[in-house]
């Protein structure tokens, strides 16, 4: 994606919305819309389809999960639209719903993550270009709640780290940078992990996210 990434922002808190818009503009994104409720988001997307929408889960009128509902609906209408859900809490149930069909172009992050601007921007770019960005908290909760303790306990600490990063949606290159490995070493770990979990090795990053998440959740 060589061009500027086009972003729609749906967030009911004015402070956060303005802050996000300002931050994204500063980082060279093009803001197509900044709205405060799901209806506004639907309307703006009908008018001008962005690459990715940053959507707050809790929005008016009921302040429960209308952001999530709107996101799922928008995804059905526009399969190419990236969705980055944005929330102050992590609910694994929401993650599961969101990833029910596909993990491509889906993100789910805690709002706190904007504090680390570069990481946040990187995640947004990943989602906009069809990748996945899951909050480390989601992955931790899934790992913690997983019943596949036997398979997981057979892994080394390093392998678990790689597994977590992989589940967040990171590429081998990104994992290598984060853990200060060579890419070759990461690849070796990934192959080991898939063998231990008895899963087929997937090529694309978002497919393997889905594979790992399904494994943890089943």
């Amino acid at each position: 994606m060589g061009d500027t990434i086009r972003v729609a922002v749906a967030e009911d808190s004015a402070i956060l919305r303005d802050g996000l818009v300002q931050l994204l503009a500063d980082r060279g994104f093009e803001i197509t819309a900044a709205v405060s409720d799901p209806d506004g988001l639907r309307e703006s997307i009908e008018k001008d389809l962005p690459d990715v929408a940053v959507v707050d889960i809790r929005m008016p009128p009921t302040f429960t999960d209308e952001g999530l509902r709107a996101a799922i609906e928008l995804r059905r209408l526009h399969p190419t639209l990236g969705i980055l859900l944005f929330s102050q809490y992590i609910e694994t149930r929401y993650a599961a719903e969101l990833l029910a069909d596909d993990a491509a172009g889906i993100g789910y992050l805690l709002k706190d993550r904007v504090a680390d601007v570069s990481d946040f921007v990187e995640a947004l770019v990943r989602v906009a270009s069809g990748g996945t960005a899951l909050d480390p908290e989601v992955v931790t909760q899934l790992l913690g709640a997983s019943r596949k303790i036997d398979s997981l306990s057979g892994m080394s600490a390093r392998e678990r780290e790689v597994l977590s990063l992989m589940a967040e949606g990171r590429s081998n290159a990104a994992i290598a940078t984060t853990l200060v490995f060579s890419e070759g070493a990461v690849e070796k770990h990934v192959t080991n992990i898939f063998t231990k979990l008895d899963l087929p090795v997937s090529q694309s990053d978002h497919r393997r996210v889905l594979a790992v998440l399904r494994f943890l959740d089943s």
Partner: protein, 443 residues
């Protein structure tokens, strides 16, 4: 000389006495008495047999089961009586609490044996027996006598005449009906006696039914203990709901306010940090702007957090009601005159309720009442705390449905009732508004 008014009154009674034998109420009472007496006869037999056998067999397990079955049956009889009373004599007896059995057969047995409603129904069925006997002898018989006297000319004192029943007639004039005579005068006399009895007949019956009404109200409705338990349950449910609603409100305030502020703050600081770390020339103005915004946001977050914490529990309340209320009065936009005279200090929970009531009421005064002055009086009456909030505004305050402007008032009433207190609203349209809150000193 009789006065005009007295005369009118007598006419009124005369008309009433004349009409009463044919009124709907009279016949419904008669019908009720007849059906409920038959029901009592059957019900008493049932209870006597099952209870008698049950008690006799108490040593065996069957006895307990019989007693339990008897109690369940008595409950049914009670329900039948309530339906009769509602449909025939417009006596509406509130339904007692439905029977709820614990799990399993032994749970059922235990619940049935402890069922207060069942035992009270048994008491009703038993006490109803003498009342019914008395009613038949004293009230129903007047109707029977009236019937036979009025129809005397038809059977003319012949062989088919009834001998045994005319209790009243036989009591006052033994052999009255059985006098062998076919004289016209005698027949007319009996017929006229029947007319007189017919005029009298509604009243003894009304007395008996009245006694039955009292008995049903006392024994077939919810009993005082159960009613108290129920009102406490309602109050507890309200308290639980209210505290859940409070928690939800606090969460919302935190989520939308402080938490969002802090995220925005972290976002700006994050941006500033990255700008400072960027290679190349530093855009010092941009960084200054970000830090300025962050600083402003931090101060706002502090204020919000402080307000929120004060809304949960105002620290000034720890020093007592007077200090807390004077802070409220001072903060009010409408001038408030405050008087507090308490001999002893209420418990913390009561102080908090009084405080939040006054806070809410003063906020209402400031927002809706168009008042120029308000007063808050806090006095002690024995074991009760009375708070009177008064304003000279436009009045018309009433607890409305949830979601409207005065749903706050509804919330206050719930809160006050949760400790058996009362909130009395006196707010005629045009004002003034006087709100009186009575709370127990110790809850």
């Amino acid at each position: 000389m009789l006065s005009e008014a007295r005369l009118n009154q007598m006419r009124h009674f005369g008309r009433m006495a004349w009409r009463e034998p044919f009124s709907r109420r009279t016949w419904h009472e008669l019908g009720f008495f007849a059906v409920s007496t038959m029901l009592t006869a059957v019900g008493f037999d049932f209870i006597a047999i099952t209870m008698g056998l049950g008690v006799a067999l108490t040593v065996t397990f069957i006895g307990l089961v019989l007693v339990a079955a008897s109690l369940r049956g008595a409950r049914g009889l009670g329900r039948f009586h309530r339906v009769l009373a509602r449909n025939l004599i417009d006596e509406i007896i509130e339904e007692p609490i439905p029977f709820s059995a614990r799990a399993g057969f032994f749970g059922w047995l235990q619940s049935a044996l402890r069922d207060r409603v069942g035992w009270r129904s048994v008491a009703y069925c038993v006490i109803k027996v003498p009342l019914s006997v008395f009613g038949v002898w004293f009230a129903f018989s007047v109707w029977v006598d009236a019937f036979f006297c009025l129809t005397y000319p038809l059977w003319g004192g012949g062989a088919a005449r009834p001998q045994g029943f005319g209790v009243v007639v036989n009591l006052f004039a033994p052999g009255f009906l059985s006098v062998q005579s076919s004289g016209f005068i005698h027949g007319l006399f009996i017929f006229l006696s029947g007319g007189l009895l017919l005029l009298l007949a509604p009243w003894p019956m009304r007395g008996v039914v009245f006694a039955d009404r009292r008995l049903m109200r006392a024994l077939l409705g919810p009993d005082p203990v159960t009613a108290r338990v129920r009102s406490l349950e309602v109050a507890r449910a309200q308290t639980v709901d209210a505290s859940a609603a409070t928690l939800r409100r606090i969460e919302r305030d935190l989520h939308d306010g402080t938490q969002a502020q802090l995220v925005a703050l972290a976002m700006r600081l994050g941006q500033a940090k990255e700008k400072l770390n960027e290679p190349g020339e530093l855009d010092i103005d941009e960084v200054r702007r970000l830090v300025n915004d962050a600083h402003g946001g931090a101060k706002e977050a502090i204020v919000e957090l402080r307000d929120l914490a004060r809304g949960i529990h105002p620290p000034v309340l720890d020093t007592g009601l007077e200090g807390a209320l004077s802070t409220l009065a001072a903060r009010s936009t409408v001038p408030v005159e405050l008087t507090v005279s308490l001999e002893e200090r209420p418990t913390h929970a009561i102080e908090a309720i009084a405080y939040f009531c006054v806070a809410e009421l003063l906020a209402n005064v400031a927002q809706h009442a168009n008042a120029s002055r308000a007063s808050v009086r806090c006095t002690q009456h024995g074991k009760w705390l009375r708070v009177v909030v008064r304003d000279d505004g436009s009045g018309g305050a009433q607890p409305a449905l949830v979601g409207s402007a005065s749903s706050g008032l509804r919330g206050l009433i719930d809160r006050v009732q949760s400790v058996d207190g009362t909130l009395e609203i006196n707010s005629p349209s045009g004002g003034p508004t006087i709100m009186t809150i009575d709370l127990p000193l110790h809850a």
